[in-house]
Symmetry: C2
Subunit: 227 residues, 2 copies
């Protein structure tokens, strides 16, 4: 089946305390985005990438492609107001009868294995969302009475990407009007009335959101190279 | 007020794929446990440590004290069957009219600031449990119907240590019989009928549970030294 990876690099990274959005920061001398694109391109020879760039930084994004890749397998579009709008823009460039990965550009340590497991699972189940178990206890805040309660840790999972869907599910789901609770693609598909199928994610599939995450990613990357 | 830190190093680290429990693995040539003990001893000159060691590894634990510290401010006891039992053993060595920190030995990057904020907060509120916001979406599994649902991320927090309590709360709370849901001290205190007061934790206050967490901790530690 056709394969598309929508790589969402739409954010401008206000949390990083850095002028440069985090997907363009360097990790062992190469931009974070380089690693993400490289892994998806390697996962399947017939996979096409739709890279969603923040409009103000599209030149830098294109420089990454020029330096390391070419445009035969990468199309570029611009991010929208929210992640939902960014993905909606990306889906304009996707054909039906495909498996669509939606991935955070800043999760640059995603493995080939995880991408392929998401594909296999979504091919059968229609959806595949990778999750991991939290290491810490989780509490739920109740702001009404300023209280909080522990959740059963065995019932809680943390959601990663690539969130992966059959186009027959994702394309119609994204025709919906934006709602504030759409924090990822799974929530959009649920709002469309469908259930989400979870698969086991990866501890190393971290999201780079703070400066120290870059150090962490460099350490993990060095380890991967050695092994 | 008197101050005790119960440092829980009772685990034997089956998750690490290493013969050595993780609190004794080396981080920049010193054991993980060294950093944890050092920070607590530095936080307050009148703080006493109760180190809860796994019985099978008590020699190694004592070697850490011999090499870097002395016994004037550190008492040693042995871990029990669960974390609850380990803390219960540690509390045998604690006097009343004190503030008691209970801390994971493997959270070796805890800061002086966080320890002191926990103390101040628990002095007033009776309890102080540090929490951070998750970076990822969180889902709750419903095993009965093999379903899952997203939680409002703004209402979810991840719990760290030092979980800090006034002795008037913690000592009587730990006289209870063990229950399976006692995953940390907060759950024990709640079971005693009291509410938990949360404070802001720290992103760097990570728990070392996997080999790659050691690399992460080394990277964060190197950054702390530079700053």
């Amino acid at each position: 089946m056709k394969k598309y990876a929508i790589i969402v690099a739409g954010g401008t990274g206000r949390r990083m305390g850095s002028a440069m959005p985090k997907q363009f920061l360097l990790l062992h001398d190469k931009p974070v985005l380089y690693y993400t694109l490289k892994t998806f391109l390697e996962a399947y020879e017939d996979l096409q990438i739709v890279l969603v760039l923040p409009e103000d930084y599209s030149d830098i994004g294109k420089e990454v492609i020029d330096a390391y890749f070419d445009y035969s397998r990468i199309q570029v579009t611009f991010g929208g107001e929210t992640r939902f709008h960014s993905v909606q823009n990306g889906l304009q460039l996707v054909e039906d009868e495909s498996i669509i990965f939606v991935h955070d550009a800043v999760r640059c340590l995603v493995s080939l294995d995880l991408i392929r497991e998401c594909y296999e699972h979504a091919s059968i189940m229609g959806t595949a969302v990778p999750v991991i178990r939290p290491k810490d206890s989780i509490r739920l805040l109740n702001e009404e009475n300023n209280d909080n309660e522990v959740l059963d840790r065995n019932k809680v999972v943390m959601v990663q990407t690539p969130q992966t869907f059959h186009s027959k599910i994702l394309l119609p789901a994204f025709k919906i009007d934006y709602k504030e609770q759409f924090t990822d693609e799974a929530t959009v598909v649920e709002s469309f009335g469908l259930k989400i199928s979870l698969i086991e994610g990866e501890e190393n599939n971290i999201k780079i959101t703070r400066p120290s995450d870059l150090l962490i990613a460099e350490a993990l990357l060095a380890e991967l190279k050695e092994s």
